[in-house]
């Protein structure tokens, strides 16, 4: 009988069988097949805490807590968790904005893993240049290193015009200058850095400048949110992966005249919502993505 299980194998099995394998691993089984430097992180996005729209999500107040519970029950411990923006739904009232941010923070305190990173979305930050968001979560752009990968979190939302801005771009240039050309670099952002579909505001006005700075590096992958659906696109050798939302899905880019939330399907509750796990294989600079639903079947 095997004493341990390879993490990738576990993920495949979990995808097929779900909770049985997860609960079986809860007793502390180790991922012996994984190289020491490989690791796993979880991305959640666009939780829009405070949103009220029963037609698109009658469980707006319950979806985030369910997602927190789902992450806690993955059956193994991710190295860290990242939220890629729009933690809260926008409000013109600064007091209400802070109330929503506080409630969001308190809910995600329920995550068993305490190594949690945050990014802002335009709903959180664009109306006050990120002031309230920073009160709760600190600097809106930063970098950190984890097991051989250099992570960069960009803020392309605190400027209401969706610009990264000269100051942050200069910081990015300086940050990247310390990285070798073949360094493993992962970028987190809220909005797409490329012009995905500007007609629906799915772009960053000066995102091309950030991509230009990243281009000399051979191994760059971007994980972002904003568009409430999975989307995968290359700009040159740089891969961009958008995540699902945890409040409502949006239609595929340009697939209909207006960008309107997809209605809740009572026959398939939480359809189109979810979070993802990313299995980082550092040597290969490979990131295997596993999509998870809000609620396990």
């Amino acid at each position: 009988m095997r004493q341990s299980i390879d993490r990738r194998e576990f993920l495949k099995l979990a995808g097929l069988g779900g909770a049985v394998f997860a609960s079986g691993l809860a007793g502390g089984a180790k991922f012996a097949g994984a190289a020491e430097s490989d690791f796993y992180f979880v991305q959640l996005s666009d939780t829009h805490w405070g949103f009220n729209g029963p037609v698109v999500n009658p469980d707006a107040g319950g979806t985030l807590p369910k997602a927190v519970a789902a992450v806690n029950s993955l059956g193994f411990e991710p190295d860290f968790i990242v939220f890629t923006g729009d933690l809260t739904h926008t409000t013109d009232d600064p007091k209400e904005r802070r109330r929503r941010l506080a409630e969001f923070r308190d809910i995600v305190k329920g995550l068993k893993n305490k190594n949690v990173r945050f990014l802002a979305g335009e709903h959180d930050a664009a109306l006050d240049n990120g002031q309230a968001w920073k009160e709760f979560f600190g600097p809106s752009y930063y970098s950190f290193d984890h097991k051989g990968v250099h992570f960069v979190a960009l803020d392309n939302v605190s400027d209401p015009a969706a610009r990264i801005g000269g100051e942050q771009l200069a910081w990015l240039k300086s940050d990247l200058a310390k990285q070798a050309a073949d360094a493993r670099i992962v970028v987190f952002a809220h909005r797409p850095l490329f012009d995905l579909y500007p007609q629906w505001d799915w772009a960053t006005r000066d995102g091309a400048q950030a991509i230009d700075l990243l281009m000399p590096h051979k191994n760059v992958t971007v994980f972002y949110g904003h568009i409430h659906q999975e989307h995968h696109q290359m700009t040159g050798h740089i891969a961009h992966h958008s995540a699902k939302s945890l409040i409502f899905p949006l239609p595929a880019p340009g697939s209909q005249p207006k960008r309107e939330p997809i209605r809740w399907d009572p026959a398939q509750p939480y359809k189109g919502l979810g979070f993802r796990g990313i299995d980082a294989e550092v040597q290969e600079a490979d990131y295997e993505i596993t999509e998870y639903p809000v609620k396990r079947a």
């Binding site: 926008t90 013109d92 109306l127 209401p160 500007p198 007609q199 505001d201 960008r259």
Partner: protein, 118 residues
């Protein structure tokens, strides 16, 4: 005639000629659009392919943006100022324009359409 007078006369002739040319050019149509929380008025703009127009934008609310990505024109709309963009539609069809400066609770629905006919 001394050289200074010749220069003045030449300048005067040139000014008259320039004025005549300017006067002879058909005046471009101006369409005024009001941006307010959270709507453009009018929402629908009808244009003819190849016929230039000037779009004028005003707002009394907060800073907003006009962006018509299919025509690569945009402008900041600042309270108390008139923003102008010149647009020469080079294709027919229906195209989206939107506010591209996050301006409040209803920002994401703030868009309109440009209809261009042959």
């Amino acid at each position: 005639m001394n050289s200074q007078r010749r220069r003045l006369l030449a300048a005067g002739v040139a000014a008259v000629a320039f004025g005549a040319v300017a006067f002879a050019q058909p005046k471009e149509k101006v369409i005024r659009v009001t941006a307010r929380k959270w709507v453009f008025l009018p929402r629908e703009i009808r244009l003819k392919k190849g016929v230039p127009v000037v779009l004028e934008f005003v707002t009394a609310d907060v800073v907003m943006g006009f962006n018509a990505p299919d025509f690569k024109v945009r402008a900041d709309i600042i309270p108390g100022q008139v923003a102008r963009v010149r647009l020469v539609p080079d294709k027919t069809g229906t195209f989206v324009f939107l506010c591209d400066i996050f301006c409040g609770d209803g920002h994401e629905g703030m868009s309109g359409q440009i209809h261009v006919v042959a």
